[in-house]
Symmetry: C2
Subunit: 379 residues, 2 copies
């Protein structure tokens, strides 16, 4: 049982990109890393065996809001935590549920105390406070747990963003306090990552980053981006925020993004990413490949019997042809969703592993600039 550690092993000379190793009680994570999203305790359409062997995931996410509603804390505790419940024995990170309360819940009311909301499943009433969310995340038992925050929408007025940021900071103090007062339930350490907010106001972002830095947590997160602002603005605010965060802590940019978003933000010094895009877009026939973006529904692939992508070292991507995958989508076969999800995730993990290698080799920045147009192109 030990706190999460972060070792920087390489830094790019031509950008702020870094390669590192995060160590948790459930094993190591080589950064930069992409974390597949396992919302309700399952990465949609992918088995845990496929996550390990085909996707080569090192850490996955769970969503506190969803897991709290289903299967619920009682069952997760009886199982001995999420790792034992779903059989994923490598690191897990859970978000705080804040984002889902604001985006999914049927009704919600925010007060100093927390957020009152109704379940999107059955309309039942629930209260999330910083203390409650820490308790829930204790019961879920992730290795990395997130502070309860308010994520202001884009655009937000300065006043809204200012007040929201301060509320998030007060909630953060309550999160740390609650965590100090409670013990992990399953014999391993849970690490709280605070979240920088401040919307698209640089003075607020700076103030928030400095407040978060002052907490001396084992890692930090950047929230409130990728919520509807243009990509260039996301890049600008991410880069700016990174400058005000401690160099020696892993930085997690929440909810980002496309393959090119990953490379851009790595160049600003981001170490960890999560996004539903590879699985959600995969289920909608959109594939990310080493030759660009593919809409596998397109008639163009009808007789293309070449592999989906044989350049990423994934058995599934090199085994099945584009024509077969297109057929599965046309025929609405579940196997299509599985193959597309595995491929997209394997592609993300491959890309980020390549990025790490380039950082270590000192060629990241030029490689990134070459790769982005290819990744964005329509294959």
């Amino acid at each position: 049982m030990a706190d999460l550690t972060f070792e920087l092993i390489a830094e790019d000379k031509f950008s702020k990109a870094r390669a590192g190793v995060v160590t948790t009680d459930h094993g190591v994570i080589e950064t930069p890393i992409f974390m597949p999203v396992g919302t309700i305790g399952s990465v949609k359409a992918v088995t845990q065996q496929q996550l390990l062997n085909d996707v080569k995931a090192q850490i996955i996410l769970g969503n506190t809001y969803h897991l709290y509603l289903r299967p619920g804390i009682e069952i997760l505790e009886a199982a001995g935590g999420l790792h034992r419940f779903n059989g994923w024995h490598k690191p897990i990170l859970t978000d705080s549920g804040g984002f889902q309360v604001f985006s999914l819940a049927a009704q919600r009311k925010i007060t100093e105390e927390g957020a009152l909301f109704r379940s999107h499943i059955d309309g039942s009433k629930h209260m999330f406070s910083p203390e409650r969310v820490m308790d829930i995340q204790r019961s879920i038992g992730a290795d990395i747990i997130m502070a309860f925050d308010e994520c202001p929408p884009y655009p937000s007025t300065y006043d809204y963003a200012y007040n929201s940021m301060n509320l998030t900071h007060r909630w953060l103090d309550r999160c740390f306090k609650r965590l100090d007062e409670t013990a992990p339930k399953y014999g391993y350490t849970q690490n709280l990552f605070p979240i920088v907010q401040g919307s698209t106001y640089k003075d607020l972002r700076k103030a928030s980053a400095e407040y978060i830095a002052s907490k001396n947590s084992t890692g930090v997160a950047i929230g409130g981006l990728s919520v509807g602002e243009p990509p260039e603005m996301m890049y600008e605010y991410c880069a700016f925020t990174c400058e005000h965060l401690p160099w020696n802590k892993p930085r997690y940019l929440m909810g980002v993004g496309t393959p090119w978003d990953l490379l851009e933000n790595i160049s600003y010094g981001v170490d960890m990413f999560d996004c539903v895009m590879p699985t959600r877009n995969g289920r909608n026939a959109m594939l990310f490949t080493s030759k660009g973006v593919i809409n596998i529904d397109n008639k163009k692939w009808e007789k293309d019997f070449s592999p989906i992508d044989d350049a990423i070292g994934c058995e599934v991507s090199s085994y099945y042809s584009k024509a077969y995958l297109r057929h599965l989508f046309k025929a609405k076969e579940i196997l299509g969703l599985q193959i597309a999800s595995i491929h997209n995730l394997a592609f993300y993990l491959h890309l980020i592993k390549e990025a790490r290698k380039k950082i270590q080799e000192g060629t990241f920045n030029s490689w990134k600039n070459e790769m982005i147009p290819i990744l964005k192109s329509k294959a």
Copy 2:
């Protein structure tokens, strides 16, 4: 390139059960065997890798009607046949489409020539004749292909069954003729299995079995059972039909059935089975296990963290708990469909492998009588 062969390696002293080896150009099949159904070129919710490694399938089915409509013959031919299209390189069997025309198509009209029908997908008009169906199965390229037949409903009048049987026999002659006149498209042998019909009339069943036997094909099939008649009647007519079929040819009982149906019919001398039940019922939360039938939706499993079934040598069945699988079904996660489908198929393949072993050991009949009540029980 060689005709299918069948070697009998053991015969039960206390029943008609037999163990054998079927050899095709795509490899061997140890009988008795269960064949997972891959209707549209994919066994629903199961990857080809999982079919090989977890389910341990030796041969899978494709449906001519579905494959003809989607992806269509042109794409299958361009791919070089179904094996290359879907990446399943072991034996494949295709049905003739007859059953689907009568059960799925929007409208159909049967004449001496064949069956005119409308697609259930887009309402387009199509004609299946014995010749057309042989041509389509040449293009799909299965190792075992089925004769085009009419499957009379249960119950049928004697006259209907009599006329239908004779039509099926005339169609059979046309199937063999067409096959003789055409060559395989992909360099390996395709073996035509004729189908015994005759509904629930013993004189017709006997006449049909004798007609089919006279064709001296490499294997034979029993159709027109498991179409709504009581199980005891299915058993009776299957046993009766088997008595009139050649001993030295593999016998395929079409569309059967539950795990206990498999064991009963093995005892009458059936060698091959197919059924959508393990996958379809799996997708509806019904599991077949070594301890009986489980409705995984049931609240009873909410906190049962024991493996789904650790007695069948399937990594998936022993890895995931009942409580986790129940959660996946409750949360409508695709992974639930995958795990249930893999488990049920692995269970069928395990059970039939056990049956084979018992036949070889000479203990099949008593084992079967012990197993059936366990298999049928509610776990």
